[in-house]
Amino acid sequence: MGRFRYSYNFITGKWMLVTLAVILCLPVIIGISLGIRSADLLHDNGLIDLLFSSAWAPSKGEFGFLPFILSSLYVTIIAFVLAAPVCLLAAMYITQFSKPRMMKIMYPVADVMAGIPSVIYGMWGIIVIIPFVRDVLAPLFNVHTTGYSILSGGIVLAVMCIPYMLNMLIESFKTVPQGLRESALALGATHWQMVKHVVVRKSFPGILSAFGLGITKAFGETLAVMMVVGNVVQFSLNPFDPAYPLPALIANNFGEMMSIPMYDSALMFAALILLVVILIINLFFRYFIYRSKKIR
């Protein structure tokens, strides 16, 4: 019995280690395999040219990823700028000002929102957001647009990010101890000053994590954006113009990637860029979370 238990422990212990190792290695494995598959393209065109050229003609062997990268960034920034303040204020209101019942209503709503498949968000974007952008917002700015645009992509993405960011923000605001809040009030702070000086500051690392999650989520989201963003290879600062984010490029052309030389390698490279950017965003936020925990 003792022996059996020993080997049983040994095996389960080992297996846990193995599974852990697999999980830890996964991003590396994915990165390496993408790197290997895009090596041909890198060798032929050179990294600088791939990242900073905007000439995109796969049949001529021209692969400039700049428009895709910038499109992705632009759509993500718009989504973040729209969603972050909404989530921050809503989370603040729910945890600091409203009745506790509010929170009980909010959680299931956010969960449902997070669980809706992205294709539904895409459909909703086409039915609601596109006409809204075309017929309501564009006339306000005196521009003409089909509605399939960076702005539409940003709005749809913003809505998709909200449940994740909101949940995380609520969680981190909730962890601020009641005693700490009371301490600030006892020192003469008004309710709003207490929220601003104590709750927000205390949960600042949590706020950063929530924002980081929202941004990476927006940057990697594929289907819903693809359905509303227009998918035109260009980069324009006008948010009413269409664009072509990286994930859309991959998803749209994956079926025909063998038909043009180097095209498969190019799509692998696009995926690699996506991975690296998300990694960079994560590291960036990690660093700031670390900093904000140390210095205050």
Binding site: K99, L185, A186, G188, T190, K294
Partner: protein
């Protein structure tokens, strides 16, 4: 939330400058939904003395203390009525300047809750809310308050560090210093040593003995021995009611059975 119609007619008992009492509580009732937490309390808290509110857990000590600086406002379920007079003013009446009202008292809670800012800013938080901006004055306040709680020598070289680097006992003294920095006349302490080790507890107790010359201290505790060490005046509570009040002699000659029993069992 505050039902004060009949109280307005009553005059506030004298708690002004020339009075012997710092706080006068009359007919204080607190309800949480249908259950009554505090039952018609009447207490006069003497000035420059340590008043110990003694009683078992759940008897309403914290609620009583929180009523004294209106932190009960935070709990929507609580309904407070009656009269609590500080400086000749009933603080339960609807009040315009809640900040000023709360700054009459300094709060020390069960666990130290340093603000998530540097040691220096912990002390200056209250004074800054009062509108003091002058760096020299703020520096002086920091030095004075840290010296008053005996923390100055220990932290003077790292005023810009985070309070996380202090021991829990030091943090509690920081919280005391922070409370004193708004120049309250009253200190409300809710079992301030219950999270501390014996040595840190002793330091806090010594501080209380030292500063009671200038402050009125209301100390909540469930520890009989601590009450015996510190009390000038004792309020023994049970189930939301005041059972017995008096000077230190009531530890020797408790009049009620409940108090007798608590003195025997409550160590």
């Amino acid at each position: 939330m505050y039902n004060n119609e009949n109280v307005i007619l009553n005059q506030c008992p004298n708690t002004g400058k020339d009075s012997l009492n710092a706080i006068s509580i009359r007919d204080l009732n607190v309800f949480a939904d249908k259950t009554q937490i505090l039952k018609s309390l009447n207490i006069d808290i003497p000035k420059h003395k340590i008043t110990v509110i003694l009683g078992p857990s759940g008897c309403g000590k914290t609620t009583l203390l929180k009523s004294m600086n209106r932190l009960t406002d935070l709990y929507k379920a609580l309904e407070v009525s009656g009269q609590i007079c500080i400086h000749g003013e009933d603080i339960l009446l609807s009040h315009k300047d809640m900040s000023a009202l709360r700054q009459k008292t300094g709060l020390l809670s069960q666990k130290p809750y340093p603000l998530p800012v540097s040691l220096y800013k912990n002390i200056t938080y209250g004074p800054k809310l009062k509108g003091i901006k002058n760096k020299k004055i703020l520096d002086k306040i920091v030095t004075r308050q840290l010296k008053e709680v005996g923390l100055w020598e220990e932290v003077k070289d790292r005023l810009n560090a985070s309070p996380d680097c202090l021991s829990i006992g030091q943090q509690q003294r920081l919280c005391l210093a922070r409370g004193l920095a708004v120049k309250p006349s009253i200190i409300l302490a809710d079992e301030p040593t219950s999270a501390l080790d014996p040595t840190s507890s002793q330091i806090i107790e010594k501080q209380f003995m030292k500063i009671k010359k200038t402050y009125t201290i209301v100390l909540v505790t469930h520890v009989v021995r601590q009450a015996m060490r510190l009390a000038d005046y004792v309020v023994f509570m049970h189930n939301g009611e005041i059972i017995e009040t008096g000077g230190v002699e009531i530890f020797k000659n408790p009049k009620t059975d409940q108090m007798k029993e608590y003195l025997i069992n409550g160590n």
